[in-house]
Amino acid sequence: MWDRNQMAARAAKEIKNGMYVNLGIGIPTLVSNFISNDINITLQSENGMLGMGPFPTKENVDPDLINAGKQTITELGKTSYFSSADSFAMIRGGHIDMAILGAMEVSEKGDLANWMIPGKLVKGMGGAMDLVSGVKRVIVIMDHTNKNGESKFLKECSLPLTGKNVVNSVITNLGMFEIAEKGVKVLEIADGSTIDDIKKSTEAHIIN
């Protein structure tokens, strides 16, 4: 079984030299800790920044410089700033190579639900619907099952969707998966897990 950091590290391996990447809030934020120093990549923050740097020291905090999670952040030599319209032109225009997001549910067809639980407080979708419909490759990081041990990897999502047929790959505590034509393909099994563990915990159709 992979822990949060191992899932983030696995996702980081998918990021290749030269890519423009948008990381969501939560475990996806951890991915930046595992990106190899040997490659040059650019992180986009949808509030209007390309080339996001690390969190600041106390002396370098700037209230005019935050990421999409409203956290204080720093700039790099290559950084550029732009308006929200330009930011979403990058996202919706297919210029961002990869988005890594969290999820409540994913279906075997690549449908994603990650913004709303009916009857509970709704905070909003932010930029998630734009990201999943516009970015070239969408990777989801999530726990394989919910607190009750029920699969979050389903035949059909039960929650309101963020996007239909938008997810390309899924990384869970049990392994890495690809949404293929006829179902879910297991690409990698986490250390200490087996294909049987995965099949038992997955409602979605596995084609291996």
Binding site: S83, S84, A85, G124, M125, G126, M129, P160, K164
Partner: protein, 230 residues
């Protein structure tokens, strides 16, 4: 016509009325028009329809207008940080229209550019698409979104001049440039009013044609989520 005003109170005078539509710049608490919001609160106008990516926090930003129940409807992409907002929304006192963030930005951009609507893939197959026209282009399905035109835009910039030319700073730019364009009138508050000619014309983000009134404000610039390295 002279664009420079001496306070937010003077700048909003004659431009506000009950039930009006407002577009506000800002992302979270970053780059929000703090003083215009405070002046709208003091004015006591009611039933506002506000398009703004977020709704501030309980005691700052647009949260101030929610506190005094001056808002009828919010058009936003994310409202997570505001408990008074949630209370009013759940009790039915406040209407809420969620827009995907890019759709909200594009609605303002299109509204400012005289484009009444646009097709986008964002939201296809979700609740956002319900009741909207669907159309296929090159084998992909898109939905029609209508643009947003405000009676008044309120924006915050770093520097401005007497012509209303504006420059924003870092990620405090966010929705401000598009909000500025989509208002029938636009009020800009700046940290510094500089002499005409002192901003390099190549560096101007919002040309003065979009700005009707400008004033210098004092900005608290509250930080919502202080995160440090280590």
């Amino acid at each position: 016509m002279k664009k420079v005003f001496h306070s937010a109170e003077q700048a909003i005078d004659g431009l506000i009325f009950d039930g009006m539509k407002i577009a506000a710049g800002g992302f979270g608490l970053c780059g929000i028009p703090e003083e215009s919001i405070a002046a709208l609160k003091m004015s006591g106008i009611k039933n506002l329809i506000i398009a703004s990516n977020n709704a501030g926090v309980d005691d700052f930003g647009i949260g101030l207008l929610l506190q005094s129940k001056q808002v009828k409807k919010m058009i936003s992409s994310y409202v997570g940080e505001n408990s008074e907002f949630m209370r009013q929304y759940l009790s039915g006192e406040l209407e809420l229209e969620f827009n995907p963030q890019g759709t909200l930005a594009e609605r303002m951009r299109a509204g400012g550019a005289g484009i009444p609507g646009f097709y986008t893939k964002t939201g296809v197959g979700t609740v956002i698409a319900k009741g909207k026209e669907h159309k296929d282009f090159n084998g992909q399905t898109y939905i029609l979104e209508e643009s947003f035109v405000a009676d008044l835009s309120i924006v915050k910039a770093w520097k401005g001049d007497e012509e209303g030319n504006l420059i924003y700073r870092k990620t405090a730019r966010n929705f401000n440039p598009v909000a500025a364009t989509c208002g029938k009138k636009c009020i800009a508050e700046v940290e510094e009013l500089v002499p005409i000619g002192s901003i390099d014309p190549d560096h101007i983000h919002t040309p003065g044609i979009f700005v009707n009134r400008i004033f210098v404000g004092k900005h608290e610039k509250r930080i919502e989520n202080m995160t440090l390295s280590e």
